[in-house]
Structures are given as structure tokens and as C-alpha cells.
């Protein structure tokens, strides 16, 4: 047990000791956005997605700070709930990707030979395919529901995680303490999940954060092409609607996109900050 917890404690204590400015900004911005997402019902004054809470195509004013859209829905409300949707989709789809990626990466990294060959060929092939288009095809033919979007994005984003984990496994399994674990006769499962995985995870964390980011952008891109769940407020779908009225209502495009960019900037800062933090060679300069 101590073996499992110790690396994590080390990791967290190192984390709080020396934060670089990017990481710091990232953490603050993301906490702020998560807070907004959690408090959505308290800081908005219309139900999300409700039509005709105002006159359609109203420019920004006091009742509607971001204006209203073609159906008279309040853009401010939908944008705030949109953050919620983006974060939910980003995190849940990455959890799915992690489940598949950890299994594939761990197996390929620990067992050499045919298992590794087959898994890595499969990973490489999936990595080359345009993942966005694959997600789009999945959602388009399986139905445009919230769950399907999460599943589709999760299914297309596992290969990157698998590769990273495999690389970590390959280097860690050669270290003396693994040899020691083998020598005392620990089972493969114990070695994989009790010894190697906890040591491999820190290196993968920044990548996972950036993957959440990609997932959010994929969801927005799908929404922008009209592939989304119309019953859930989505920043991408809002930009899709806005596209039809670009010449008359700029606010329909401006605000959802601004918030989406803000979200992505925050996650990029967090991810890049973590990478810098983990790579001391680059950090010193």
C-alpha cells in the first residue's frame, strides 16, 4: 500500500513547492471555470435552451448580456451551461480513453513479443487516421446524443495515451526495483499495477490534461458542423447556429467562441505548465 501512495505524495508535494507561472495561471483559470460551471444555475437567470426568453436577435443589453439568438434564447445562459457541457464531455471522454489506453499501453509495454507487436501496430494505425472524422462518422450514424458524443471522442483518443504509457513502461520495467519485485516473486499483476503504473502516471498526467483539451475542441468542432445533441447546451452548436447569421448578429458567434477559447487557453496553460514542471532541463533556462 505504502508503495502505491508514496509516489503520489511525492508528486503532490513537489507540485506545490515549485509552480511555474504558466502552471499557476492554468490552475487559477481552470478553478475559476470549474466554479462557474458548478454555480451555473445561481449565476444565470433564464432556464438553459429555453426559446423566446427575449426577442430573437437582440443585441447584448442588461437583461441579455450576450444578446439572444435566432430562437430568442439567452446566449449568456447557454454559454455558462456550455462550459459545463464542454468540461463534462472533455473529462468523461478522456476517462474512457484512459480505460482503453491504459490496458493497451500496459500490455504492450510489459509484455514484449506478439502482444506488443499487434497492439502497437493497431495503435499506430489508429493514430494516423483523422480522429475527428472518425468521431464524426460514429456520432452521425449512431445518433447525435450526449452519450454517443462522449463515447465517440473517448474511442478515438486512446492511442496517444497508450503510446505514452508504453514508453514509460518500457523504461521503468528495466529499473532495479522491478527486478527486485520479480526476485521476491510478485505476480505480474502486482508488478504492473502496484509497482510500474504508479511510477508511470506522473509522466502521463500533462498529456491527459492536453487530451481533455483536444476532446473539448473535437466536441466543439463536431457541434460546429452540426453534429451534436440539440438538447444539451453546447458552445460548438451555438457557433453552428451563428454561422447562418454571421452577417447580421455578430454576438451569436463572438461570445460562445470567446468562452471556448478561454477554456482552451486555460487547459493549454495547465498542460504546458505541467510539462515544463516535469522537465527540469527546460525549466532551468
Amino acid at each position: 500500500m505504502a508503495n502505491r501512495v508514496y509516489p503520489l505524495i511525492c508528486y503532490i508535494s513537489r507540485l506545490t513547492k515549485r509552480l511555474n507561472p504558466r502552471l499557476m495561471t492554468g490552475i487559477i483559470l481552470i478553478s475559476f471555470l470549474i466554479l462557474i460551471a458548478l454555480l451555473a444555475p445561481l449565476i444565470t437567470w433564464y432556464p438553459p435552451l429555453k426559446s423566446l426568453v427575449g426577442k430573437p436577435f437582440t443585441p447584448p443589453n442588461l437583461q441579455h448580456p450576450f444578446g439572444t439568438d435566432d430562437l430568442g434564447r439567452d446566449i449568456y445562459t447557454n454559454v455558462i451551461y456550455g462550459i459545463r457541457t464542454s468540461l463534462t464531455i472533455g473529462v468523461s471522454s478522456v476517462i474512457i480513453a484512459l480505460l482503453i489506453g491504459v490496458i493497451a499501453g500496459v500490455l504492450a509495454g510489459y509484455y514484449s513479443g506478439i502482444v506488443e507487436d499487434v497492439l502497437m501496430r493497431l495503435t499506430d494505425m489508429t493514430l494516423i487516421l483523422p480522429q475527428f472524422l472518425l468521431a464524426l462518422v460514429i456520432v452521425a450514424i449512431f445518433g447525435q446524443s450526449f452519450q454517443n458524443i462522449i463515447l465517440a471522442i473517448g474511442i478515438v483518443s486512446w492511442p496517444g495515451i497508450a503510446r505514452m504509457l508504453r514508453a514509460e513502461f518500457l523504461s521503468i520495467k528495466e529499473r532495479p526495483f522491478i527486478e527486485a519485485a520479480r526476485a521476491v516473486g510478485l505476480s505480474d499483476m502486482r508488478i504492473i499495477f502496484g509497482e510500474i503504473l504508479p511510477n508511470a502516471i506522473p509522466a502521463v498526467i500533462p498529456y491527459v490534461v492536453l487530451q481533455v483539451n483536444t476532446a473539448i475542441l473535437v466536441e466543439a468542432g463536431l457541434g460546429f458542423l452540426g453534429v451534436g445533441d440539440p438538447n444539451v447546451p453546447s458552445l460548438g452548436l451555438m457557433l453552428n447556429t451563428a454561422q447562418q447569421y454571421l452577417t447580421r448578429s455578430w454576438w451569436m458567434a463572438l461570445f460562445p467562441g470567446l468562452v471556448l477559447s478561454f477554456l482552451v487557453v486555460a487547459l493549454n496553460l495547465l498542460g504546458d505548465g505541467l510539462i515544463d514542471y516535469m522537465n527540469p532541463r527546460l525549466r532551468k533556462r
Binding site: 494516423i128 468542432g221 496553460l269
Partner: protein
């Protein structure tokens, strides 16, 4: 057989199975989807006799393995089905759109490679305020969703300033010939290419900067400096040259991202490429075309990767041996 030819053949044999994987993925997905696969392969046409005829033709009433063989043979013959909604074969619809997409992708690729490498090197060489502000710009360039950036650029430059057209590839009804025709296309291309390039410049800058920084820590840089070579020469001749390898890899293997970028950008500017076709097909629920675009897009990306791989083998003899 010369080693180079052998190398090319080996690579070809590695990449062809990937196309097979694409087809298998599509086949499995269509069969797993809820409802009758005929509607996905034909589109929602409504006419029952049509659907029945298509079912016969695609062999959908035969056992699964026969369906699979029929499907693979059809794809390799270039037959991706027929779009009943548009009365046109799917392949023809897509192939007609490929040149426009390629123009956009290649223009953006060249602009971003040139600009990104220069900015990235400068950013790495000059630490301090310039580097920090360039890094910030890069961060925004990477983060801002380019389709939204395109919308903003369109609103400012076309809707409010009226400097550029609202969309399309040529001015309708002008019938330009020769040089004017080319100029007209460039005029329409400017904003979409700029949008796509901005995103990619940011990425190229980021990769170049990291790569040059890495190269600057190497021993041969210390050697070069201690020999008294001017700093500018050290950076551009010694560091950048070695730093370019990851940048080139990135540019080559990034085609998939750029293709998706083009698809989204085209939608904003109504640029008549594969993206606009995809957008319309999603709206019309013209599934055969959506599937076709995935297949063609994947094949384009596979070919681009193959080209980069082979170029590598030609440029670097060590890789050929592996």
C-alpha cells in the same frame, strides 16, 4: 533491386493494410449502428423500391462475410455508393471537391512552415520580453478554435470592412479568364488560408522553439561558440539545421490535423471543398457521402504519411536500413 526500391516497397506494404483497416472500421460501424444499414449506405430517400433495389445491389440480404467481400471490392474499385439525394456517385462528388481542399491545405502549409520556423527560431534565440510575448501569441494561436477565428475574421474583414468576399472560390457571373481568374481565386483564398495558417503557424512556432532550445544545449553548439562563430550563424546554421528534423516530421505527419482544419475552415468561408460537402451532407443526412469523405480523408492522410516516410528514407540513408 536497389536498397531504395526495396525500402519504398516495404513502406508501401506497411501502408496498404491501413486502408484495409479504414474499410473494416467503416464496415463494422455501419453494421453495429442501430436500424437498417441500408439507410446508412443509401441515405434517407424514402422510396421503398429504391431501398429494396439498393439492398439487392449491395448484397445486404447475403451473409455477413459476403457483404464484407462485396464492400471491400467496391471500395477498391472506387465505388463508394451513390448519393440518391444528389443523383451523383459518391466518388465523383468527393473527387470534384478535392482540388479546392488541396489548394487551401497546401497554401496554409507553406505559409505556416515559412513563418513558423522563423518566429520559432527567433523566439528561442532571444530570451526575454520578445520570447515571452511570442510565446503568449503562440499560446493564443494554438488555443483559439480556428473555425471561430475564421468567423471573427469574416465578420471584421468581409462584413464590416468589406475588403474581402463573404465566401466561395470565384466571383459568380464575372467569367474571368487567365490571370484574372487566378487572381480572383487568390482574392477568395486569402481569408480561409490565413485562418488555417494562423493556427498552424502557432504550432510550427511552438515545435521549432522547443527543438531549437533543445539543440542549443548540445555540445557542438558550445564548440561552435568557442570557435568564435558569430551567434547568428551558430543559431541558423548549427542549431536550426539540426532542430529542423522534428519540425519536418511534425509538418508531414500533421496532415490529418490540417485536413480537419481545412474542413472546418471551408465551412466558415463556403470554400467549395470537401469540408463544405461534408457540412451539407450532414445537414441532408446524406450518409454515403459522410462515409465517403471519411474514407477519402483517411486515404489522403495515409498517402501524405507515406510520402513523408519515403522522403525520409531518401534524405537519411540510415532509416532505409531498418
Amino acid at each position: 533491386m536497389s536498397p531504395l526500391v526495396a525500402f519504398v516497397i516495404r513502406r508501401l506494404l506497411q501502408y496498404i493494410p491501413m486502408i484495409l483497416v479504414v474499410i473494416v472500421v467503416i464496415f463494422i460501424l455501419v453494421r453495429m449502428a442501430p436500424g437498417d444499414p441500408t439507410y446508412i449506405l443509401v441515405g434517407e430517400v424514402g422510396d421503398e423500391s429504391f431501398v429494396q433495389a439498393a439492398r439487392e445491389r449491395l448484397g445486404l440480404n447475403k451473409p455477413l462475410h459476403e457483404q464484407f467481400l462485396i464492400y471491400i471490392l467496391n471500395v477498391f474499385r472506387g465505388d463508394l455508393g451513390y448519393s440518391y439525394l444528389r443523383s451523383e456517385s459518391v466518388s465523383k462528388l468527393i473527387i470534384d471537391r478535392i482540388p479546392a481542399t488541396l489548394i487551401l491545405v497546401l497554401t496554409a502549409m507553406f505559409i505556416s512552415a515559412a513563418v513558423g520556423i522563423i518566429i520559432g527560431t527567433i523566439s528561442a534565440a532571444r530570451r526575454g520580453i520578445l520570447d515571452i510575448s511570442l510565446s503568449l501569441l503562440t499560446l493564443f494561436g494554438i488555443s483559439i478554435p480556428y473555425f471561430w477565428l475564421g468567423q471573427m475574421i469574416l465578420i471584421v474583414f468581409s462584413v464590416y470592412l468589406g475588403l474581402f468576399p463573404l465566401g466561395g472560390m470565384i466571383s459568380v457571373g464575372m467569367d474571368y479568364q487567365g490571370i484574372n481568374y487566378a487572381l480572383d481565386i487568390i482574392y477568395h483564398l486569402t481569408l480561409p488560408a490565413l485562418t488555417l495558417a494562423i493556427f498552424n503557424i502557432a504550432f510550427t512556432t511552438k515545435i521549432t522553439r522547443g527543438s531549437v532550445l533543445e539543440a542549443l544545449t548540445q555540445d557542438y553548439i558550445i564548440t561552435a561558440r568557442s570557435k568564435g562563430i558569430p551567434e547568428r550563424r551558430v543559431i541558423f546554421r548549427h542549431a536550426l539545421r539540426n532542430a529542423l528534423i522534428p519540425v519536418v516530421t511534425y509538418t508531414g505527419f500533421n496532415t490529418g490535423v490540417l485536413l480537419v482544419g481545412a474542413i472546418l475552415t471551408e465551412t466558415v468561408f463556403a470554400w467549395p471543398g470537401m469540408g463544405s460537402l461534408l457540412y451539407d451532407s450532414i445537414r441532408l443526412r446524406d450518409y454515403p457521402v459522410v462515409l465517403g469523405i471519411f474514407i477519402y480523408g483517411s486515404i489522403m492522410v495515409i498517402i501524405a504519411n507515406l510520402i513523408v516516410d519515403i522522403l525520409y528514407g531518401i534524405l537519411d540513408p540510415r532509416i532505409r536500413m531498418r
